[in-house]
């Protein structure tokens, strides 16, 4: 036992329960360290890729790295609330609102005649040049 260990007579948890909780906490900690090490690796790869010109493969590389990052974020959030279906349902509403917001914005753009920004951008890029 370390030197800074303190006993609490008025609220001493059951020895076995506490041991299991501590073991669970350490398991969680090690999982976190692995996750953040992975994330740091992907971030470093992204910065490395940023300094390299892949030519026509630029978009592919960017998309792969973006997918890796968002996948890791999704995994981490899922690992935080995997035991709690209630929270999962609550966050699912957030996703619905987010998707709805994007849909409404694009629908509104089309109603106002602005058009599809992604398609328009592709058209402009294919015709124009940078002075």
């Amino acid at each position: 036992m370390s030197a800074d260990h303190t006993d609490f007579p008025e609220e001493a948890p059951h020895v076995h329960d506490q041991a299991a909780e501590v073991a669970h906490a350490w398991h969680h900690f090690h999982g976190n360290v692995k996750f953040f090490a992975c994330f740091l690796g992907v971030i470093l790869l992204t910065v490395l890729a940023f300094n390299i010109n892949f030519g026509s493969w630029n978009t592919v590389v960017i998309l792969i790295l973006a997918a890796l990052r968002s996948g890791l974020i999704a995994y981490f959030l899922a690992s935080l609330f995997k035991d709690f279906s209630f929270v999962f349902r609550t966050l699912a509403f957030t996703a619905v609102f987010f998707a709805g917001m994007i849909f409404l914005s694009m629908w509104d753009s089309q109603l106002k005649g602005i058009g599809n920004p992604i398609k328009d951008r592709a058209d402009v890029t294919s015709q124009s040049h940078v002075p």
Binding site: T6, V22, N32, I43, S85, M101, P117, I118, V130
Partner: protein, 289 residues
């Protein structure tokens, strides 16, 4: 009256009060940042070709901040584990390191903001550009056309301002910027600077359409940059204040109800992880462009 479910989970939600509260709060935060990121998407797609700032952020400062936040997330979990183990001193050490990381992050952010306050952008009138273009090319300086404003934009540090001119040190051309108009031509020779002296460039005030510091009013990118990073920095400040409370006054709870303090630190940790993940999303969007 004792408030129920501060320590144990409710049967219907499977969560204690604090955890349910923080997840609901984070759901609203996702909507807030989601709305801003969506706005960014539309603004970015709507930008005129060649006018969206490229390679203008200090990537190394941004990366340093990313590493610091990732480290702080780990020390935050360490603080929680230490409380589970009832090791109060270790808890204080881990939480102290987390707070320090938050403060270092804010300091670096301050350094970045300071450089924005000292940086200028100049819009040269289209008809006056002919006389400046050869020298800008020779210096390897970055400039771009803004068709809707009939002007060319040059960014750099203001070296000196006289009654009728600006002497500036223009930004260099980004290393990997794809300039479609130059792709079939040989790159212009860039004069090597001898002795590390800054290459200055003089602009007549009569040839300037407008100029300004690289602050929110300057352009859409800077408005988004300051909005997102400012809002994120406010979250860091909020997190640091809460952690300082639990390191000082709030830690008295450890003597009475250590498990409740453990839960509070867990909730603070979930918030801190969220702030970390937001930054990891912001960094590639705003820095690696």
């Amino acid at each position: 009256m004792e408030i129920p479910y501060t320590l144990t989970a409710r049967l219907d939600t499977g969560l204690y009060n604090g955890k349910l509260g923080i997840w609901l709060f984070l759901a609203s935060e996702v909507m807030l940042f989601g709305a801003i990121f969506t706005a960014y998407l539309f603004v970015r797609l709507g930008a005129e070709d060649g006018t969206w700032p490229n390679h203008i952020q200090n990537v190394w400062l941004g990366l340093t901040n990313t590493i610091i936040l990732i480290m702080s997330s780990i020390t935050m979990v360490w603080a929680w584990v230490a409380l589970k183990e009832r090791k109060f001193n270790t808890y204080r050490l881990a939480l102290g390191i987390t707070i320090l990381c938050g403060l270092v992050f804010l300091f670096i952010k301050g350094v970045e903001y300071k450089s924005k306050f000292e940086h200028f952008g100049f819009f040269i009138k289209e008809d006056a550009m002919d006389k400046y273009q050869p020298e800008l090319d020779k210096m390897g300086a970055f400039y771009c056309a803004v068709p809707s404003q009939h002007a060319f934009e040059v960014r750099g540090h203001l070296h000196e301002q006289t009654a009728d001119s600006f002497v500036i040190v223009p930004d260099s051309k980004p290393k990997y910027l794809i300039d479609l108009s130059q792709k079939d031509k040989a790159a212009p020779a860039v004069e090597e600077s001898s002795g590390g002296e800054e290459q200055t460039f003089t602009l007549a005030q009569a040839d300037i359409d407008r100029f300004g510091r690289l602050l929110p009013a300057y352009g859409t990118y800077y408005a988004i940059y300051f909005l997102v990073t400012g809002l994120h920095a406010l979250h860091i400040v909020g997190g640091v204040v809460v952690m300082l409370y639990f390191l000082t006054i709030g830690s008295a709870l450890y003597q009475r109800k250590p498990e409740q303090l453990t839960n509070r630190i867990e909730v603070t940790g979930i918030f801190w992880h969220f702030v970390d993940l937001v930054w990891i999303t912001v960094f590639p969007i705003l820095y690696l462009t």
